[in-house]
């Protein structure tokens, strides 16, 4: 079953074709890796998928529904959540509140019941707390729940960002360089976490990564992008041994 089906999307900034007829099909439950040299347009693809940029052409289908040209908020509601290359946490808020922000659209009560502390406030907050702690437990962050998120060590900030994205209950999770800046043991831990969330949550994952060990270790399929165009696409062992790919990464 197709979870995400992207057909020939593209965007240009001035004369630069940042992404040119990019097509990818991701099946439900798959873990797809998106790799490519610096400036290949990987993050632009993420920005196109999440509605930060509107594609000049092409079509994006999520679980059969057309989400091309929708706003970021609507796309998130449709079921795509993402993390960022440079961590974007709510730094002055607690770890718990960061996750509860992710629950914003799933558990609702009006602003008035928040201000006047009506019963629906207490009811919903209780459910939200339980849910947030459940998610934090998966990431082993429950002890830091009351910490200011800016005070977490780097690896845990990355995890918290994934936790917050997962809290929106996405069908498709986009991870933008989740292992960037991590040491080998942190990367190992992250791989274990990604495997765990796939098992626990019914979620399809597309990730950008430069760490080949991680990509080869957990990705089921790999897509290689170079100068906005597809270079290779398929199983890891085929793609990573493709002479074109090696050339793009290492030069001739």
């Amino acid at each position: 079953m197709e979870m995400l089906s992207v057909k020939n999307i593209g965007i240009s900034f001035g004369g630069l074709h940042a992404v040119d007829s990019f097509s990818i099909t991701i099946n439900k439950g798959e873990l797809y890796g998106l790799i490519g040299p610096n400036g290949a347009g990987k993050t632009t693809v993420f920005n196109l998928l999440t509605g930060v940029y509107k594609p000049d052409m092409g079509q994006i289908l999520l679980d059969g529904a057309n989400i091309t040209g929708l706003s970021t908020i609507e796309i998130n509601k449709a079921g795509i959540a993402r993390t960022f290359q440079n961590i974007r946490l709510f730094k002055n808020m607690s770890v718990l509140d960061n996750v509860k922000c992710g629950l914003h659209n799933d558990y609702k009560y009006s602003s008035a019941s928040g201000i006047f502390r009506l019963p629906s406030y207490y009811r919903t907050e209780k459910i939200m707390n339980n849910r947030a702690y459940e998610i934090l437990e998966v990431f082993g962050l429950e002890k830091e729940a009351k910490y200011l998120s800016a005070n977490l060590p780097y690896g845990k900030q990355r995890k918290l960002e994934i936790a917050r994205a997962l809290a929106t209950d996405p069908k498709l999770l986009l991870l933008d360089e989740p292992a960037a800046g991590m040491n080998p043991s942190e990367t190992e831990e992250l791989m274990a976490t990604i495997r765990l969330i796939r098992k626990q949550y019914d979620v399809t994952i597309l990730l950008i990564e430069h760490d080949m060990k991680l990509v080869a270790g957990i990705c089921e399929k790999i897509f290689v992008l170079n100068f906005g165009i597809e270079l290779a696409n398929g199983l890891p062992q085929d793609v990573l041994n493709d002479p074109e790919v090696i050339k793009a990464y290492l030069g001739e």
């Binding site: 998130n76 974007r88 709510f90 509140d97 992710g102 928040g114 006047f116 907050e125 729940a145 809290a167």
Partner: protein, 369 residues
């Protein structure tokens, strides 16, 4: 492990820290109120200070409400006095025309407050929709402009009543064409005079506590988290499905409505309401309270508002040097209030520690005896 998690959950549900902080702030306000009242009863308070009591309340409300926009939403607004102006005029207008028909003072004043808040909130929504597309310096400039526009429009507005209905004019009293026996309510630059002076210190403190609770409850709710998420990182907030425009306007209009409440309190405390009072000087003054008290720190805003309202009056003996000294005090406070060493010093010499030290000493003395 399981029990530990349960404990953590229980702690989170109690919301310990915020509740305790609220109890401290409101408790301190109530105690300060009781001290002031007993001083007034006993005749121990100077007239000067008595006249400032209500001013402290409305400036505190202004500071707390601006803190919602500046500290919690993270958008710099320099037109906050404009909303106070709308609240003041709406409230005074209502009270003046209803003073003969409604005998119940409490009901009339409550209605005036609600109307003032609603009108200021409405303008908050209208202006918010227009200006909140901007950020940072640009937003500051545009809010400044809107504040001035409100002030200047009310400065030339004439409204009167007679048997035929309401008359508006932007020119002068004569152009209202009132019947004999008609009443001019808003007289342009002269504003509204003869508003019943219903504002008392008690009402002021009650309104301040209500304002404080509204903002604290908002901040610690789903909407408040959304507002702070927008402040901390609007791109991330959008990516998790938070409607940025909606929550920006929500925070901005609640902030405006509460400024309107302060305005109603102000207009019922003095004989004449004039729009010139609500220029950008007042906006900046309130912003100073917020910055000095700490962005997002509501208790700090109240303390700063009280101190800086009283200070200029007590510096009157310096005559010409008064504002100079005020400025120097302000600079010194700005530098030292948030200096790390001072924060540490305050932590080590907090009232709580002093209190417990005294009690422990008493205990020791008892034991020795």
């Amino acid at each position: 492990m399981k029990t530990q998690i349960k404990k953590l959950k229980a702690q989170a549900l109690k919301l310990n820290k915020t509740t305790r902080s609220n109890v401290i702030t409101i408790g301190a306000l109530v105690i300060a109120y009781l001290i002031c009242m007993s001083m007034i009863r006993g005749g121990n308070m100077s007239n000067l200070l008595q006249n400032l009591l209500v001013a402290m309340c409305y400036y505190s409300i202004m500071a707390v409400s601006l803190n919602l926009t500046v500290g919690i939403l993270g958008q710099l607004s320099l037109g906050h006095a404009g909303f106070m102006c709308i609240g003041a005029f709406t409230g005074a207008f209502f009270s003046k025309i209803m003073v003969d028909t409604m005998d119940n003072v409490i009901l009339r004043f409550t209605l005036a407050i609600l109307l003032g808040a609603a009108m200021a909130g409405l303008f908050g929504v209208i202006i918010g929709v227009v200006v909140l597309r901007l950020r940072g310096d640009y937003l500051a400039i545009v809010t400044l402009a809107f504040g001035e526009i409100i002030k200047n429009v009310l400065n030339v507005l004439y409204i009167g009543f007679d048997s035929r209905g309401i008359h508006f004019s932007m020119k002068d009293t004569a152009s209202l064409n009132l019947d004999e026996g008609g009443m001019v309510v808003i007289k342009g630059a002269q504003g509204i005079s003869g508003t019943p002076r219903n504002a008392t210190f008690t009402i002021g403190v009650i309104l301040l506590i209500i304002t404080y609770l509204i903002i604290v409850n908002l901040v610690n709710s789903r909407s408040g988290r959304a507002i702070m998420a927008i402040r901390d990182n609007h791109i991330a907030a959008e990516s998790i499905g938070i409607n940025i425009t909606k929550y920006k306007i929500l925070a901005f209009s609640i902030s405006a409505a509460l400024a309107g409440v302060a305005g109603v309190l102000y207009s019922h405390n003095i004989a004449t309401v004039q729009s010139t009072k609500f220029g950008y000087n007042t906006s900046i003054l309130v912003l100073v309270f917020v910055v000095l008290g700490g962005m997002g720190n509501l208790r700090g805003s109240i303390i700063a508002a009280i101190v800086l309202t009283v200070l200029p009056e007590y510096l009157r003996f310096m005559r010409d040097y008064r504002m100079l000294i005020y400025a120097i005090v302000l600079i010194v406070m700005m530098i030292f209030n948030w200096a790390p060493a001072c924060i540490n010093w305050r932590k080590n010499h907090s009232f709580k520690d002093v209190f417990w030290n005294i009690i422990n000493k008493f205990k020791k003395v008892k034991e020795e005896a």
